[in-house]
Amino acid sequence: MRPYIPKDNVQAKSYYTDRYYVAPQVPKEDVSTDEVFAADLAAISAKFEVKESYLQVGQLVVYINAKDIYGVLEFMRDELKYTQLTEMSAIDWLAKDNTFEIFYQMLSMTKRKRVRVKYFIENGQAVDSVEKLFRSADWSEREMYDMFGIVANNHPFMKRILMPYDWQGHPLLKTYPLEGDEFAAWYEVDKIYGKEARDIIGPEIRDTSRVDRYDSERFARLGYEVPKGTKITGDEPKNPNPYQEEGGVFLIKKFDKESSKIVDDPQR
């Protein structure tokens, strides 16, 4: 027999319990197996310090120092023909060693190759903006700031991009609860009606399977609706809800199925 698991509050629990699960890694290959990447890596490591490098799923991954990022990307764009920054963001490793991992995904249209440039920063440390090199980094760095709280120096407009400007907290941190903290739970009520309205409006109902049969105001009584504020006794009659009143409507004719005629003459 299977062990009994109580299910009374199963909706309130998160599906994934291990939030710091580390996915199994794809095998890493040596860079020398690909001659284009080997030449690129040699060119980069001649000018900058490369901490680690390997091939993964046919892409070059290069770890550098945080202070070199503007120089490395400029060198790759101008000399190595990696002309596009397709994506950049951060990875939260705060639980492991209090660091963020920043990655920049580069694409070369002429070489048909992709390179991922990575580095680690401490929690609270700022990064150098590459917005002057790649316009796509403008919104990406704003999103990184919005989601992780990592500031990019020399960015022209370092503000939140997805969440409202007066939001507190950075939602993509692994410590941020999916259903929001206290600030998020009351955000719209506090902003529109003020904090004193919290008691009147009430907390958010997060349990999607919750059905309150004593609630006469909302839609919990489908088919058995009662007037607002009625005391529920349990033997409410079924409440068919036709779209029109029994006695008909002023100036509007009701469709009558019995007296209607189906015209099946093709020459009508």
């Binding site: 969440m163 409202p164 939602p171 941020y176 609860p177 999916l178 259903e179 929001g180 903290d181 998020a184 955000y187 719209e188 009520v189 902003k191 529109i192 009606y193 309205a197 009147i200 409006i201 958010e204 109902i205 997060r206 999607t208 909302r218 839609f219 489908l222 809800n241 779209y243 029109q244 009143e245 409507v249 002023f250 100036l251 509007i252």
Partner: protein
């Protein structure tokens, strides 16, 4: 009798109908429910389909308006995010009375599948709602049935009285 004159005693009687003020005002109101163009997410697509030729909202006198000042009903069609919450309140306040709100689809009703930090868990936390439509997304038939129920609700009210203040608080 000249030929162009209508003989009312013969041709179907006088063109006169007797009714009450309530009924004629409610008849006018319920058959010209102008809706605010307010598609927030995928429910907005179904709302557009309801307005287009196959389902044809114009039959009900429901014409979409791009301004809240010309609209009678706000159809909240889609996910209401917390960033947008202040604007739905502002648009609702800009609508002239009498005004009604239809909450269309699971997201507008309860937050739906978006049990997250950024979604308002039901637009009735911000504005008072007259009608909740279930579905994800509701079919255009559901929306039209909802509009007909709203017409019924309008007809049931006294037209002469000013609309009771429908505020959350």
């Amino acid at each position: 009798m000249a030929q162009h004159k209508v003989n009312y005693t013969q041709d179907g009687g006088l063109p006169v109908a007797l009714t009450s003020i309530d009924k004629i005002v409610n008849w006018g109101r319920s058959n010209s429910i102008w809706a605010l163009t307010y598609g927030l997410a995928c429910c907005g697509i179904e709302m557009m389909a309801s307005g287009a030729s196959r389902f044809d909202f114009d039959r009900y006198g429901t014409i979409f308006r791009a301004s809240p000042r010309q609209a009678d009903v706000m159809i909240v069609a889609g996910t209401l995010t917390k960033k947008h919450a202040e604007f739905i309140k502002r648009l609702y306040d800009q609508m002239t009375e009498p005004r009604w709100v239809i909450s269309m689809g699971s997201c507008a009703n309860t937050g739906g599948m978006f049990n997250t930090y950024s979604t308002v868990q039901g637009c009735d936390r911000i504005i008072p709602v007259d009608l909740y439509l279930p579905g994800c997304a509701p079919r255009p038939e559901t929306l039209q049935y909802g509009v007909m129920l709203l017409q019924k609700k309008i007809r049931a009210n006294k037209a002469g009285n000013a609309q009771k203040a429908k505020r959350l608080m």
